[in-house]
């Protein structure tokens, strides 16, 4: 204990600290926006300032969540050869902690290195067991006379071949090994069942007594053990209560002591009010004084609430009356009331917020985004939330404390009480925190359950505490300190079997060698293991990737456009577009495909013809200053009026049927009974003929709403300055030219434009899918990118803009026409914009291009279908297209598409480095031409934009995959949309954030390998200049590599060493005639392969 006076900060400081805490919470709580605006982000964004493994460790410490794939998943991959022995060894050897080449011991004059020990311990689970498990192993599994069942055939052979003198049988060899393991560790073992401790044999008792007294200095005197038990109990008490604040909340303490979880009762009570307050329109009726803020309105309700009196807590109304009206004051009062030391206040609040991370995170998000669309006029205040949380915790704790011990819910009272009843504390604590043998558990449980303050008999607690202590001293328990039979000897025993080391080798080990071996095992903490596995997994994939790049060198088209391509199609950089691009290039080698962030450099506030308000379409970090509007084309105005009327009518009907039937009572009876006649056939067709029903409803929709031609307004009418605060309608000519020029420069398309340049935005449409936004374009804040493509095309086609561009040195040929389109990544349809504006001369060429793209979508559907379990195994491209369309209109389909699953790498460079290779839709492709950007200015901008977006997508998939239950949001099947902003499981769970299980099932959790076609010098200067990149790359959230534009040499960036040459093995890749030949018949991930390049004069 330090002197309290000195370390105690003044009250003012504490307040400031609490305020700062709220900002800090944004780092540890999920940062997910309301689900309609879902955008991928790094789940551990708050830990990004730390190196990857350190961040995962820190997160584990704060939240208790593991950040690597479970080890048995890695072992499965090892068995499938997705991770090899060599991959693991390379990683282990590159780690400076394990790099020691000096052998730990020798066996038959063969050295055994540390790396081999680690490798064995990774491939095979070698862990400490408990006393009971050991007894079970010996008695039921015959562990002392047989090999462990998971020891491989080769290890067994190895084991026998390492023996100099032949031992007759497996049994004796293993038995000898066990005794050797015990001997070198100086341990003895006899099998003892915990139940035997109930009636101690005098000899055993004497032995255990002397053993346990041996370990302590405190010998002599009477009743030593009794004093030792008491001391232990007191130590436990002060240690545990000392953790309240920084590590534990009052709820945790009560949970430890009684096994009752306050949160079970608090959660439903809190969530009802919380979701009603945050609701964005699901409910028709809200708190009459919602605008006062959460705390005030909650308090008002709580004062009238009958719950308290019904639940035996009637004194609460009185308590509530005494609380301040200000939330901040209440927080302080409450913290004082439960007696948390002032210095721990911020930490305590942090722990509290982390108890319901989803809800806390949503409240915080809303409090930090005050302008967010909502029904709430007032600002959402995080302090309100904390105040209510604290009050509820104390009130419910109060009931337990009163019923159990007749004390108030104060830390000091709890301490006071248990100082008088230390044995009770010890029994309760141990019962709820560690595993006890059954005979102790049942006694402890019945004592705890029957505990009654008035009739309590301290002797019983004392007796039980002593029994527990005795058990812990006995060989039947698991003694955590020093070497033990079940810790050290058992692990050594297993390790020896897996490494094929017989008794005689083990027996020759000296103390320090054994220590050395065990130290290796101890060094393999969960985090260390996970990180080794992860790197080995990544490196295995990386080597395949780099091998493909080396093999493909010089094969790809359009390194420089000496011959003019027929067309350029610019897709989003999205990994999902890799497939369709490859197929398009295979269909027509004269088409060049490119990739860029899907907002095409035009950040806009979009207002479609039917929209009532604007939608920003650009990356989340940008706020647009320009608005683009869609209006009816000339001559369509009248039709538009009709359209509006019909559309309004349709929306109203849908509103009536879906909403009024749940909102009203009498009128809904009429509605329900009449709509049931429609609902039945609709349900039947939807479920049995999803494709047809989709076609019908689309047709109905179109013909009812009236399809009207539209135009977009892109030109500014005024010359006023456009700013975020005052967005302007349209862009000026100069602004348009800037954007077009900038974008063409970014993707390296300043010359050699084909007769068509197609901007292909993307989006995804599916049914019954709350996570819809997660499938949309990340560069457009989780929305569709078609409007951006259309806007860009409209700008680039204007003669005024082209003239300015020409003056700036970019010549867009007269016969080049820029098109906007949108690719639906779910059902593979392509929507074209402003087709009627295409000059007549180009129309035939466009028809051809359109047909080619149509065919490419069929092929893309075909390739995607190989990974869908419900798609037929053999199907034609046309059937495949039908299948994906059916999927998108099937409302029972929880996997309309697989999203970004399996994304693993990103190429920034010319298409020529990757064109002609099959990458299995796992690679983000970003166009960049290093030959046009010698200073690296363009590259810098690309890295700054694409780096965080790629990392956001990749890392969200990573974390949702490694721990779907905690970092992801679990299975969709029990999800329940809440308040229009999130999903719960059932009706009273925490808000679930991250990706659902259905999205990540086939994902391969690895960090993104970025390969940039640029010289290492350029990259180094950029890296040195840009702090955001230093954070992402330097801390290992992204793995950066470079491929030299001239020599094709591949280098990898290592934060501590800089760029290091890749020296992996280069082997020949199989070459196939087309993508289809490579993937047909396969359902699992595929390695890269070369695709035969069509006969086409290289451009």
């Amino acid at each position: 204990m330090q002197t309290e006076n000195n370390s105690q900060p003044s009250v003012k400081d504490v307040r400031q600290q609490i305020r700062e805490l709220i900002d800090h919470l944004a780092h540890i709580l999920p940062g997910q926006a309301p689900i309609k605006d879902f955008v991928h982000h790094n789940t551990l964004h708050g830990f990004q300032h730390l190196p990857f493994p350190a961040a995962l460790e820190a997160a584990r410490k704060v939240t208790g969540i593991d950040g690597y794939l479970p080890e048995n998943e890695f072992r499965k991959l090892y068995k499938q050869d997705r991770i090899t022995r060599q991959d693991l060894l390379d990683v282990i050897r590159s780690d400076k902690n394990f790099a020691d080449d000096e052998p730990v011991l020798t066996c038959q004059s063969k050295p055994i290195t540390r790396a081999e020990i680690i490798l064995t311990a990774l491939i095979n689970p070698i862990t400490t067991v408990t006393g009971c498990q050991l007894t079970w192993q010996i008695e039921e599994q015959h562990a002392l006379t047989r090999f462990q069942p998971d020891v491989s055939e080769s290890s067994r052979k190895h084991f026998f071949s390492n023996m100099r003198q032949q031992v007759s049988s497996e049994a004796s060899a293993i038995t000898e090994l066990w005794s050797a393991c015990l001997r070198v560790l100086d341990l003895q073992h006899f099998v003892l069942h915990p139940e035997e401790l109930v009636d101690l044999d005098p000899d055993d008792a004497e032995k255990m007594l002397s053993d346990s007294l041996h370990e302590t200095i405190e010998t002599g005197g009477e009743h030593v053990t009794r004093r030792m038990v008491l001391k232990e109990a007191e130590k436990l008490l002060s240690h545990t209560l000392g953790r309240v604040g920084p590590e534990l909340t009052i709820r945790d303490v009560l949970h430890l002591l009684t096994g009752q979880d306050l949160l079970e009762e608090i959660r439903p009570a809190l969530i009802r009010h919380l979701s009603a307050y945050l609701d964005q329109g699901m409910a028709a009726w809200h708190h009459p004084q919602r605008q006062l803020g959460f705390y005030a309105s909650w308090k008002q309700s709580a004062l009238q609430d009958m719950t308290w009196s019904l639940d035996n807590m009637s004194e609460i109304t009185d308590e509530l009356n005494h609380l301040p009206n200000d939330a901040f004051e209440t927080v302080i009062t409450e913290l004082k009331l439960i007696g948390i030391p002032e210095k721990h206040w911020p930490q305590y609040l942090e722990r509290l917020a982390l108890e319901l991370p989803g809800w806390s995170g949503m409240f915080l998000w809303r409090s930090q985004n005050p302008g967010y669309e909502s029904l709430l006029p007032e600002h959402v205040d995080m302090m309100d939330y904390l105040a209510v949380r604290l009050i509820l915790e104390r009130l419910y704790a109060r009931r337990i404390c009163r019923d159990q011990w007749s004390i108030g819910p104060r830390l000091d009272l709890i301490r006071w009480y248990f100082r008088q009843h230390p044995y009770q504390f010890m029994v309760r604590y141990i019962l709820h925190t560690s595993r006890l043998p059954e005979y102790l558990t049942s006694r402890a449980q019945s004592l705890v359950k029957q505990f009654n303050q008035e009739f309590d008999d301290d002797n019983q607690w004392q007796l039980l505490a002593q029994m527990i202590w005795t058990w812990r001293q006995s060989p039947a328990s698991d003694n955590p300190v020093g070497h033990s039979v079940f810790g050290s000897a058992w692990r050594l025993f297993r390790l020896a079997q897996h490494m094929g080391l017989p008794a005689e080798v083990i027996a020759t080990c000296n103390k320090s060698q054994v220590e050395d071996i065990l130290n290796c095992l101890d060094a393999l903490t969960e985090g260390v293991r996970g990180f080794i596995w992860l790197q080995a997994y990544e490196n295995h994939y990386r080597d395949q990737l780099f091998n493909a790049l080396v093999n493909n060198r010089g094969r790809g088209r359009w390194a420089s456009r000496e011959q003019r391509p027929q067309a350029q199609v610019v897709f989003c950089m999205d990994d999902r577009e890799e497939g369709i691009r490859r197929h398009l290039e295979e269909l027509n080698p004269a088409i060049e495909t490119m990739g860029a962030a899907g907002f095409f450099g035009v950040a806009i506030n979009w207002r479609g013809m039917d929209d009532e308000k604007i939608t920003p379409l650009c990356p989340v970090v940008v706020t647009p200053a320009h608005e683009i509007r869609e209006i009816p084309a000339a001559g369509e105005e009248q039709k538009k009026t009709a359209h509006d009327k019909r559309r309004q009518l349709r929306l109203k009907l849908s509103e009536v049927f879906y909403q009024e039937t749940r909102r009203n009572l009498f009128t809904s009876s009429v509605l329900i009974t009449s709509s049931a006649f429609v609902a039945m056939p609709v349900l039947l067709t939807k479920l049995f003929l999803p494709f047809t029903s989709g076609q019908i409803s689309n047709w109905l929709l179109k013909s009812f709403d009236l399809n009207i031609n539209s135009r977009i307004v892109i030109n500014a009418q005024t010359n006023t300055e456009a700013s975020i605060e005052h967005p302007r309608l349209g862009f000026t000519d100069e602004e348009q030219a800037d954007r077009v020029q900038n974008f063409l420069r970014t993707i390296g398309l300043q010359q050699g434009l084909g007769s068509f340049v197609v901007m292909m935005g993307h989006g995804s449409i599916s049914q019954n899918n709350p996570h819809l936004s997660a499938y949309d374009c990340g560069a457009c804040s989780g929305r569709h990118g078609g409007p951006n493509a259309r806007t860009f095309a409209a700008m680039a086609n204007r003669p005024e803009v082209r003239k300015i561009l020409k003056d700036r040195g970019i010549d867009i040929p007269k016969d080049t026409w820029v098109m906007g389109a949108e690719h639906n990544t779910c059902d593979e349809t392509i929507t074209w914009y402003d087709i009627d504006l295409i000059p007549d001369t180009l129309k035939p060429a466009f028809t051809k291009l359109q047909a080619e793209l149509k065919q490419a979508t069929k092929m893309s559907a075909h390739e995607r279908s190989r990974r869908f379990a419900s798609a037929p195994r053999k199907l034609s491209p046309a059937r495949a297209l039908r299948h994906v369309i059916g999927r998108s209109t099937d409302f029972s389909q929880a996997r309309p598409e697989l999203g970004h699953a399996t994304n693993a790498a990103a190429f920034i460079g010319r298409r020529s480095i990757s064109q002609g290779t099959f990458y299995d839709r796992r690679v983000f492709l970003i166009s960049y031409d290093p030959t046009q950007d010698l200073e690296g200015k363009v590259l810098e901008a690309i890295l700054l934009a694409a780096g965080p977006v790629g990392a956001g997508i990749n890392l969200e998939y990573y974390f949702s995959t490694v721990n779907n239950d905690k970092y992801g949001c679990g299975s969709k099947v029990t999800h329940n949309v809440t308040g229009l902003f999130g999903v719960m499981e059932g009706t009273a769970s925490d808000l679930r954030t991250g990706l659902p299980k259905q999205m990540i099932e086939i994902h391969e959790a690895m960090r993104l390998q970025i390969v940039v076609e640029a010289s290492t010098e350029v990259l180094t200067t950029i890296y040195k200049r840009q702090a955001p990149l230093q954070e992402l790359v330097g801390n290992g959230w992204l793995l950066l590599n470079a491929i030299d534009p001239d020599s094709g040499e591949i280098t990898m960036f290592k934060p501590e060493q800089g760029f290091v040459k890749w020296e992996g093995e280069v082997s020949n890749l199989p070459e196939v005639a087309s993508s289809t030949n490579w993937y047909a018949g396969h359902q699992t991930p595929l390695t890269p392969a070369l695709i035969k390049q069509a006969e086409f004069a290289n451009g």
Partner: protein
């Protein structure tokens, strides 16, 4: 003759479910590979039973002659009493069974895609098949006993599906809650069956409905009350409403078919089935209206404040069920039946679409009028669901728990001691005891009665216990020379009497005493 095959209708889905369970047991449909087979079996069975019903329908309707009561066989018969295996194929049964078969088939179809790759895929369909069979049995059965079997099977399958995610404590707790609430209704059902049996000699729906003017009106009222209780619990009417909103923990399609669409209506079906019986008692008709009105208000107001889709739909469903009861109470049974069937279909659609509600809502729900908006207390009551849950906790759950607690205490303190399980034998179980024993220097084990002998089996235990009692007696009363021992014995006795008195003064024992008294009187 198609009617004679009617028993196949509920049996087919049940058999499919049994097949799936067998597959899980013997491992021929486990995992992702078994999904196709499982889906095929359950879909075929449900489709067949739907087709069979349609065939019956097309056979009967043109002739304008419904088959009525079909006896398959006598199940149980003794003297005047008998229970038959029979089905009642009137308009109500045929119409509703079609709805049930159709909605079940649709939700099974929906679930095939939706539940793909779920660990509980097979389990889910096995339960769904069981439920489908049970619901068909409820509406088709010709007598109360058979309906009751369906009633129970539906209850069990509902319990299993609420606890589908049994690793989540919330789900299992709510499942238990729903199950227990339904048991109250079952008591009513059993009561009604028993009285019908005693009164009428059989439990066929037509004879129950015919009642008998000569028989005591009081008994008829008991029968009605029994059935009404059953209907109230199953259809979640006030005051039993709270279980159904807790039941939404299962996968979306199961919430849809169980609570949104089918099972929630079985109470209404029961009342409609008993139309002639209820019509005999204006008082009971009034009760129907009253309960229906309370439920409708509960559902409506509660529905206005719900912020999650599933609860919101559930409250709305409850409200509609309340209206159906009102219709029944007003004698408009036919309207109630139509309302039931159509509501079941629409709500199935509504629930299956629940995940899309986010995107189907173009603007916030229409706010309530100002006069309602500002009722603070009413708002709070709606948010807290009129405290029905808390009331149930205070009046039923806690007393029951406490009683269980006391029984356990009795068990451990008295029964266990009397039987002589190990904890009555004082042996050395901790090192501290060992040390004390050594320090004692008397060379005698403290409380060493256990060392006298160790017996095996019940007789052995008895002997052992007798021995330890005697030894204790000797040590405390004889060896210690009286005074001290006797005093402590008296203290002990006082202690126990104190506790007994305290226990008896608690309301739950008063409650128990009252129940016991009633049980004796009746």
């Amino acid at each position: 003759m198609a009617e004679q095959w009617i028993w196949l209708v509920p049996l087919l889905p049940t058999l499919a479910s049994a097949w799936i369970l067998l597959g899980m047991l013997f491992g021929f449909n486990r995992g992702e590979r078994g999904e196709r087979q499982t889906a095929l079996v359950i879909q075929t069975a449900s489709l067949l039973s739907l087709l069979l019903l349609l065939a019956l329908m097309f056979n009967a309707v043109p002739r304008q002659q419904l088959p009525g009561l079909i006896d398959i066989t006598t199940w149980f018969s003794t003297g005047d009493y008998q229970i038959k295996l029979n089905f009642l194929l009137d308009g109500l049964a045929l119409g509703l069974s079609l709805v049930v078969a159709l909605v079940s088939l649709l939700s099974i179809r929906f679930s095939v895609n939706y539940m793909h790759r779920e660990a509980g895929f097979q389990r889910f369909f096995a339960i769904l098949g069981l439920f489908n069979g049970a619901m068909l049995l409820i509406v088709l059965a010709g007598n109360a006993m058979l309906t009751f079997i369906g009633w129970e099977l539906a209850g069990v399958s509902s319990y299993l599906l609420i606890a589908y995610a049994y690793d989540r404590p919330n789900a299992t707790e709510n499942a238990t809650r729903a199950f227990v609430t339904n048991r109250i209704g079952d008591t009513g059902f059993i009561l009604a069956i028993t009285f019908s049996f005693i009164l009428l000699g059989n439990v066929d729906w037509p004879s129950i409905n015919a009642g008998n003017e000569n028989k005591a009106g009081f008994s008829l009222v008991i029968i009605m009350i029994g059935f009404l209780m059953a209907a109230m619990a199953k259809s979640a009417l006030v005051p039993f409403s709270s279980w159904i909103t807790r039941a939404l923990e299962g996968p979306t399609p199961s919430s849809a078919v169980f609570y949104g669409s089918l099972m929630v209506h079985s109470g209404v079906y029961l009342i409609i089935r008993l139309q002639p019986l209820f019509e005999q008692s204006p008082f009971m008709m009034f009760i129907l209206i009253l309960i229906g009105a309370l439920t409708a208000i509960y559902g409506f107001l509660g529905g206005l404040v719900q912020t999650d889709v599933k609860s919101s739909l559930m409250f709305s469903t409850t409200g509609q069920v309340g209206l159906m009861f009102i219709s029944c109470g007003l004698g408009l049974f036919e309207i109630a039946a139509w309302h039931l069937g159509l509501h079941a279909i629409w709500r199935a659609y509504h629930f299956l679409n629940a995940p899309a509600m986010l995107h189907l809502m173009h603007k916030p729900a229409r706010p309530v009028p100002a006069w309602l908006q500002n009722r603070k207390w009413l708002y709070l009551a709606s948010v807290q669901r009129f405290w029905l849950d808390n009331l149930a906790n205070a009046m039923l759950v806690r007393p029951a728990l406490n009683m269980a607690h006391d029984v356990q205490r009795f068990d451990e303190q008295i029964v266990v001691r009397a039987v002589g399980l190990p904890n009555s034998v004082g042996a050395i179980s901790s090192l501290a005891q060992w040390e004390e024993y050594k320090d004692d220097n008397t060379g005698k084990l403290i409380g060493d009665s256990g060392a006298i002998g160790r017996g095996r089996g019940a007789l052995g235990n008895l002997m052992e216990w007798l021995a330890s009692v005697f030894s204790w007696f000797e040590e405390h009363l004889v060896l210690k020379g009286g005074d001290e021992g006797v005093i402590s014995l008296i203290q002990h006795a006082g202690h126990y009497l104190n506790r007994l008195e305290k226990l008896l003064s608690q309301p739950r024992y008063l409650f128990l005493m009252i129940i016991l008294t009633f049980a004796v009187i009746l």
